[in-house]
Point group: C2
Chain length 239, copies 2
Amino acid sequence: MSETRALTFDVFGTVVDWRTSIAREGRAFGERHGIETDWVRFADDWRGLYQPSMTRVRDGERPWMPLDDLHRESLCTLLGRLGVTVGDGGVSDAAVDELNRAWHRLDPWPDVLEGLARLKRRYVLATLSNGNVALIVNMAKRAGLPWDAVLGAEVARSYKPRPEAYLTTAELLGLAPGECMMVAAHNYDLGAAGALGFRTAFVRRPGEHGPNQTADLRAEQDFDVVAESFIDLADSLGA
Amino acid sequence: MSETRALTFDVFGTVVDWRTSIAREGRAFGERHGIETDWVRFADDWRGLYQPSMTRVRDGERPWMPLDDLHRESLCTLLGRLGVTVGDGGVSDAAVDELNRAWHRLDPWPDVLEGLARLKRRYVLATLSNGNVALIVNMAKRAGLPWDAVLGAEVARSYKPRPEAYLTTAELLGLAPGECMMVAAHNYDLGAAGALGFRTAFVRRPGEHGPNQTADLRAEQDFDVVAESFIDLADSLGA
C-alpha cells in the first residue's frame, strides 16, 4: 500500500464556517443599504443555490464558469426576492461585487490553523474545492491558511463530484489517487473521491448548517479516518 | 493606474540556483553509479536542452507535456552521450527518475527567503514558471518558499513566453495583467509579460550561468523595477 503524500481539502464547511461569515457580511451590507432581512437565513438560501447552480455546468447545459460568477448570479436572484434593485439607482454593481466577495473572507473553524500547521510538516496540503483559485487564495491570505497548492475545480474546469476535479488535482500534484487523502465534512465528496482511489478522512462539522443540521452528522461509509477536528485529524495521522 | 496586487515569479534562475544544485545532485549520482564527468558542465548541458525541448511543444509539433517529462527526455539524451545505458543492466529507470527529480530539490539564492517573507505580507505571491505544479510544490516544500499559489505553464498548458501562460495565471488570480508584476532574471520573460500589460521587475542573477555568464547581466528594457536581490526588491516596493 502506497504512502499518503498529500492531503486534499474540501474548503466550504470543512475548513471555513461559511454560514456565520456570510451572515455577518450580509448584516453589514444590509445596514449600509437599509435592507432588513434574516441574514442567517439569507446565508442558508445563498448556499442553497450552490449545488443547483453547479449542476447546470456539471451537466454541460452551460459552459464552464468559475464559482465567483455562479455565486453572483445566485446573489442577484436572492436580492431580487428581497425587492432590491441592482444598478439604476438601486444598490450599485460595485456594492454587489463586494458582498459577493464575502466568500473570499470566510473564517476558519477554531481548530483549523493549529491542525494545518501540524499536518503541513508531514504532508503536501492542497485545496480540492469547488471555489475558484482567486477565491481560495484570497481566503487563505486573509485567514493564514498555509496551503502548498490551490487546485480543484477551476484548474480542472469541472465541479466536484465529477471525477475530473479529483483526478486533475492528483495529477497536477504528480501523485496517484492512492497517495492522496481527501479531507471533507461531506459524505458525498468523500464517496466520490474514495471511488477514484483516494484515501478519505471525514471531519465532523455538525454546526456547518446551524443548530438544526441533519445531514453529514456522521460518516456514512467506512472512511480511512473519522475525526472531530483538524487537531484530531493530525493526532490520527501522527502529525 | 491600478495597484499591484500579485507578484508572479519566474523560478529557475530567478528564485533558485539550478546550476549549483543540479551539479551537486549529478555528482552524487555519478559517485553512486561510477560515472565520471564534469557535473557542472552536465548541469549546463541539461539546462541547454530546456528551451529546445519546449519549443516543439510551443510550436504545436508535439502535444502538451509537463516539464518533468521534457527534463527526463533531455536527461536520457545526455546520459546516452556519456555512454550510460538506462535499464537492461545499466542504470535503473528508478535511479534516472530520482536524478530527474533533482529539479524538485533546487536551493534558493541566499536572499530569497527573507525577501519573500517581506513581500508576502503585502502581495499575493504566485509562481509563473515553466516548471510543472508538482515540481514547484515539492521544491517549495523542501526549501520553505511561501507561495500563495502555484500557477504558470502547466495550468495554462502553454509554455512561456507564449501569452497564455501569463494571461491564464492573471485570470486564475482574478486580476487584470496590470495588477500583476512579473519578477524574473531574464529579459525575454519580462519582455513577454510587459507586452501583455504586466508590470515588470528585473532581479539581476549574474551568477545563474556561472562566472562566465554573458546574457541577462542587465535590464535591457525600461522595466518598472530593477533589483539586485529579493531583499532589494522588497525595499523598492516598500514591503
